[in-house]
């Protein structure tokens, strides 16, 4: 058979009267892709800035460029949404590569906002004491210099700062913008790498505790590459199954609306094994990114080792992007496969909720604690994903929005609590913080309560939305498990509060640095979001509702 197959291939090629005519010029709707394009452009400008702007003024130039770009991109997103691309005009752009629809725009908006507030924490330069009269941020003076070496000292003395982090941030954001809106598997994969690689680098660039930082980077990189290899193989298998990359086509093949199967290809085309294995592997890659058990193990280490601003940004934005992609994959590509992947996802969601909550109980490092809590939250969100209803989508969107703000805010607070060795992340050092600086402690308590899902906070609204969707989607047991695990989770959030308010301050306890308006803004926004989304979430729920439909 192979001979015929080969022949047929040649004939198709030969039969082409005019090969050029077979390749139509791609049609790109630049306007609709503007958010991504803006960010990418800005990133490139950032690179140029690194090349040409004198060192002293790079920082300001970079911050300016990035801030403007992010705002502009956000404006673009809003404009598109206002123009109805989220609802009525939703369609596939860029030759089927990118979907411009509600979920995409909503998540892009969230990502851009968290990118913006993340940028603020990146740009913070008041927390660390001045080194040789130079304000320093939380990134290594020179990534290349060996920790503790003379070259590093020299770099610090010279007042070097790694202003490359800003372009890196922008590249990551750009990748994240594409990720949830990718409408074919290739775009998905490229976007995945585009936002992963900068994050790997950012992880390695901590100013203090550089060994940890580098270790985190290595672990994140190796495991991330490992995971993306799986994803890629999954993509290959799906391609093999459907002979196409585009979500739409694959979906059609899955639900059998395309049946023109060349008998010659019977053993690949429409072979469910390929479909199932491929789907599973892609999903696994995404679950890795959202940090679901058992693909979560990188999370605590990376969250702990990475520079805290990066951790905050990563924890918020990565989850958003990855869940966006997961939603689109499950709702657009594999809806026909619902009955296969739902039970599996059930399992994942349950162990993720319980695992994250239980392991967090005995954590002693605040960053690791938040890492595990983020795992548990991934589980809650998965419960919403499983609903496979429009409600499910919108509830997940809402949850992601709420969660990202709270997370960034929490990590921003973590950057403030410092002692001689930089950030004092060990819990024992947080004892009695509430008596030292009630305001900071109170703010952090608000975030913790929101994580714990106490009413009148964003966390509660989100949790309620997700569980509601899940229950309505017939996943009542999941809700019960979720409720129980959030009870467990409550325990360690409370533990931190007890520590901050009811324990005696330690004499060698940390001090709370007074940040610049940047970080203040970040925290302020986060608190505001937490409370507003908790008390009057209706507007945002409506937004998420309108955004709840995927374009096919």
């Amino acid at each position: 058979m192979s001979a015929t197959a080969v022949h047929s291939l040649w004939t198709t090629a030969a039969g082409a009267a005019d090969p050029i005519a077979k390749i139509p010029a791609p049609k790109i709707e630049y306007a609709q892709l503007s958010p991504t394009l803006i960010i990418l452009g800005a990133a490139l400008i950032g690179v140029l800035v690194e090349a040409f702007v004198p060192r002293k003024s790079r920082y300001y130039a970079q911050v300016f460029v990035s801030a403007v770009a992010l705002c502009a991109a956000f404006a673009a997103v809003v404009a598109l949404a206002a123009d109805g691309y989220g609802t009525t005009k939703a369609h596939i752009a860029a030759m089927g590569a990118i979907a411009v629809d509600g979920p995409a725009l909503f998540l892009q908006g969230v990502i851009l906002l968290s990118g913006l507030v993340g940028l603020f924490t990146f740009a913070e330069r008041r927390l660390d004491p001045e080194a040789h009269g130079n304000r320093v941020d939380s990134f290594a003076a020179q990534g290349a210099s060996v920790p503790g070496s003379d070259s590093e000292k020299a770099a610090v003395k010279a007042g070097f700062t790694t202003t490359e982090v800003f372009p890196l941030l922008l590249f990551a954001v750009a990748g994240m913008l594409v990720f949830p809106s990718a409408n074919d598997l290739l775009t998905l994969f490229v976007a995945l790498e585009v936002f992963s690689l900068p994050l790997y680098l950012l992880c390695a660039l901590a100013r203090r505790k550089r060994l940890l930082s580098q270790e985190a980077a290595v672990k994140y990189f190796l495991l991330g590459a490992f995971a993306s290899a799986f994803t890629l193989f999954g993509i290959a298998l799906l391609y093999g199954y459907s002979g196409s990359m585009s979500y739409a086509t694959i979906a059609q093949v899955v639900d059998g609306s395309i049946t023109n199967i060349n008998p010659a290809l019977a053993d690949t085309m429409g072979n469910d094994a390929l479909l199932l294995i491929g789907g599973a592997m892609i999903v696994m890659g995404l679950l890795f990114k959202v940090g679901a058990v058992p693909f979560h193990m990188w999370t605590p280490d990376v969250y702990q080792g990475a520079p805290t601003p990066v951790t905050g940004f990563m924890a918020a934005a990565t989850k958003v992007a990855a869940f966006g992609a997961l939603l689109r994959l499950l709702y657009v590509v594999l809806p026909g496969l619902r009955w296969d992947w739902r039970p599996v996802m059930w399992g994942v969601a349950i162990i993720t909720m319980l695992g994250g909550a239980i392991v967090a109980i005995t954590q002693t490092d605040i960053k690791r604690l938040l890492a595990y809590s983020s795992i548990a939250h991934a589980g809650f969100i998965l419960a919403g994903v499983i609903a496979t209803t429009r409600d499910g989508v919108s509830s997940v969107l809402f949850y992601l929005g709420a969660y990202s703000f709270v997370t960034i805010g929490a990590f921003a607070v973590v950057t403030l609590v410092r002692d001689a060795g930089g950030e004092a992340t060990h819990l024992s050092k947080w004892a009695g913080l509430g008596r030292r600086s009630p305001l900071v402690a109170a703010v952090f308590a608000v975030f913790l309560l929101s994580f714990a899902g106490i009413p009148l906070t964003a966390g509660f609204a989100g949790k309620f939305a997700v569980f509601k969707a899940a229950a309505a989607g017939g996943a009542a047991p999941l809700v019960v498990v979720g409720v129980l695990s959030s009870a467990i989770a409550a325990f360690f959030y409370i533990r931190v509060i007890v520590l901050m308010f009811f324990s005696e301050p330690r004499p060698d306890g940390p001090t709370v640095a007074v940040p610049s308006p940047l970080t203040m803004a970040t925290i302020g926004v986060a608190v505001a979001a937490t409370l507003v989304l908790g008390v009057a979430p209706q507007y945002f729920l409506d937004l998420a509702n309108q955004a709840g439909v995927f374009v096919r």
Binding site: M1, S2, A5, S8, L9, T12, G143, A144, V146, P147, G148, L186, F189, V190, E193, L197, Y200, L201, A204, R210, L211, L212, Q214, E215, A216, A217, V218, K219, F221, L222, A225, F226, A229, F230, L232, F233, I235, A236, L237, Y239, G240, G243, S244, M245, N262, L265, D267, T268, M269, P300, D301, Q304, G305
Partner: protein, 99 residues
């Protein structure tokens, strides 16, 4: 000959790569194993494209190579800096953060 065999080969390569990642200590080697997995994917892509008789698969192969190259850039940078500060490229040595 039957192109499906190439699929088997790619699967085999992929598994070898994965196993390598699991058992090898040296970060560089681990990373090369990952590259091996990516190449296995490439093989699969090409094979499928051949079987489906469309070019997508082959195009993707190129993308993959580019991505792999990018990964090399980033990965080596990180690994090298790790090596320089620890004088060892063993992934097992880099285990300060645990529990």
């Amino acid at each position: 000959m039957n192109p499906v065999n190439y699929l088997y080969l790619s699967a085999l390569l992929f598994t070898i790569g994965a196993t390598g990642v699991l058992i090898r200590r040296n970060a560089i080697v681990v990373f090369m194993c990952i590259e091996l997995m990516l190449n296995a994917c490439n093989l699969a892509f090409v094979t499928f494209s051949r079987m489906h008789g469309n070019l997508d698969g082959q195009v993707i192969a190129f993308f993959t190579m580019v991505v792999a190259a990018a990964e090399v850039v980033v990965g080596l940078a990180i690994i090298v800096s790790l090596f320089r500060s620890r004088h060892s490229a063993s992934v097992d040595d880099a285990s300060l953060m645990k529990l």
